[in-house]
């Protein structure tokens, strides 16, 4: 199955982990990347700008109804859930927080699984809660590929551990190995 898109979820320690992840991605990737990183609603820090400095792919904040573009990293905006529609466009919601988080990884992953089905790769990185586990389970159920950062290599192991416990993983590897793995899956 060809990979159409990659969704990534992270929480505590996530920015550093994302810098490592994005820094190792091949700039030839043609897949859309969508990242949900827990942050507070009034977070005015320019996360896209920070991540862009480490990434060879362009990094932008996802906007309501804009299409997910191949070879671009899209970030969930603070204070809103980010969802994927089946027409490949983004949707936002202010539905209640999930696992104390908005944006929630589960919300993104579940909608992305419905939109992209078996063409989706889900990645769960460091974090101190259980968000993402349910979403990763759905991605696997719909035939997508699940990658989990090995808890031992995570700054906060709880989130990858929760994902492993609930969803299992097709690949459970240290953070440093994830970019090469994604390059291989996507450029194959």
């Amino acid at each position: 199955m060809t990979v159409t898109a990659i969704v990534v979820g992270c929480s505590a320690g996530g920015v550093t982990a994302l810098q490592t992840l994005l820094g190792g991605l091949d700039p030839r990737l043609a897949q859309a990347l969508v990242v949900c990183c827990h942050r507070s609603a009034d977070d005015s820090a320019n996360l896209a700008g920070v991540l862009a400095r480490s990434s060879r792919l362009p990094v932008v904040e996802a906007a309501e109804r804009e299409p997910a573009r191949g070879g671009v990293v899209h970030l969930a905006p603070p204070g809103y859930h980010l969802l994927m529609e089946s027409d490949n466009r983004f949707a936002l919601s202010v539905d209640p927080h999930v696992s104390h988080a908005r944006p929630s990884i589960d919300v993104l992953f579940c909608s992305a699984a419905q939109a992209w089905r078996a063409g989706l790769v889900g990645v769960v990185l460091t974090g101190a809660n259980t968000d993402g586990a349910e979403g990763l389970r759905l991605i696997r159920r719909y035939g997508g590929i699940a990658i989990v950062q090995s808890p031992a290599s995570a700054q906060a192991p709880a989130m990858p551990q929760a994902a492993l416990d609930l969803a299992g993983a097709d690949h459970c590897v240290p953070l440093e190995a994830i970019p090469a793995l994604l390059n291989r899956l996507c450029l194959a």
Binding site: L83, D95, S111, A113, Q114
Partner: protein, 292 residues
């Protein structure tokens, strides 16, 4: 279902989910006259799934069946599918713009009618009432607060919220430029915060469906924040047309901070007033195709 067991059916679970959602929407339409077919599908699916879970229906089809056979469930279903709760003075800089830029203009009208579409539990209704009160305009103002869900309206009318919100809401209030004490507007009993009922004296709560109901008032300000994000483009255009037809020329429209009207055909009927806060005015000049 066992999460580890792969799906062996021929069309796949995700496709099955699409069919189930479609049938649920059809059932709501034919059985109860509520049309959700123009709602943005991803959020709708999420809410329908949550309803199916919280009502212990097992599947979306199970929820559809109960929706068909147990009409008494309808208010509960509508509540689950309508606008989520907000905060008082959510996005304070928007309320600051209303306070400092919009109300001084509205003050020139002898009577100020405001329509809040999709009021949920009423947090923003009372926020507006406080702004009007402090501007000395409340006596000649009327707020029509509408929602699809009668259960939400009930809640809004009661004006009772968890007391733990008070701190954040008070910070929000101050950030809007409020100079009184936010605590003047509510009382606390046990762990509940009850809004002063005087703030409700010029508010009418009523059920209204943006999909099927018509314009019912001539408004000087329409507040509809974070409702259109749940609508598909055609329904968004339809709702904007309703707001346009409800607003007096030069009347104000306030949308949610990340709501885009770029894809709506009726967007041309509005001029930006404070674009970053998503505050617009109904165009003075009639746009092509709009009501004279």
């Amino acid at each position: 279902m066992d999460p580890e067991s792969p799906s062996h059916d021929d069309i796949g679970e995700a496709a099955l989910t699409d069919i189930e959602l479609e049938l649920f929407v059809r059932a709501m339409q034919r059985r109860h006259g509520y049309d959700f077919s123009q709602y943005a599908p991803a959020s709708l699916l999420r809410r329908v799934r949550q309803l199916a879970n919280s009502l212990e229906c097992g599947t979306i089809s199970g929820l559809t069946s109960r929706t068909l056979h147990q009409p008494e469930l309808l208010p509960r279903v509508l509540e689950g599918l309508s606008v989520p709760v907000s905060d008082m003075f959510r996005d304070p800089r928007v309320f600051r713009a209303l306070r400092e830029q919009v109300l001084p203009i509205l003050a020139s009208y002898p009577r100020i009618d405001i329509w809040q579409a999709g009021c949920a539990h009423g947090e923003e209704v009372y926020s507006l009432a406080i702004l009007l009160e402090e501007a000395g305009l409340y006596e000649r103002s009327h707020i029509f607060a509408t929602d699809l869900s009668t259960r939400a309206l009930q809640h809004a009318q009661e004006g009772i919220y968890p007391a733990r919100e008070a701190q954040q809401w008070s910070r929000n209030y101050i950030a809007t430029g409020g100079t009184r004490s936010f605590a003047d507007y509510y009382s606390v009993r046990y762990n509940l915060l009850k809004i002063d009922k005087r703030l409700r004296r010029n508010v009418t709560f009523a059920q209204h469906n943006l999909v099927s109901d018509k314009v019912f008032c001539e408004a000087h300000l329409v507040l509809c924040r974070n409702v259109l994000i749940y609508f598909s483009n055609p329904l968004q255009s339809h709702a904007l047309a309703l707001f346009r037809d409800s607003l007096v020329r030069g009347g104000f429209l306030c949308l949610g901070l990340r709501e885009s009207t770029d894809f709506a055909t009726t967007a041309a009927d509005f001029d930006p007033f404070d674009e970053p806060q998503r505050i617009y005015r109904r165009s003075i000049h009639p746009a092509a195709g709009s009501k004279a």
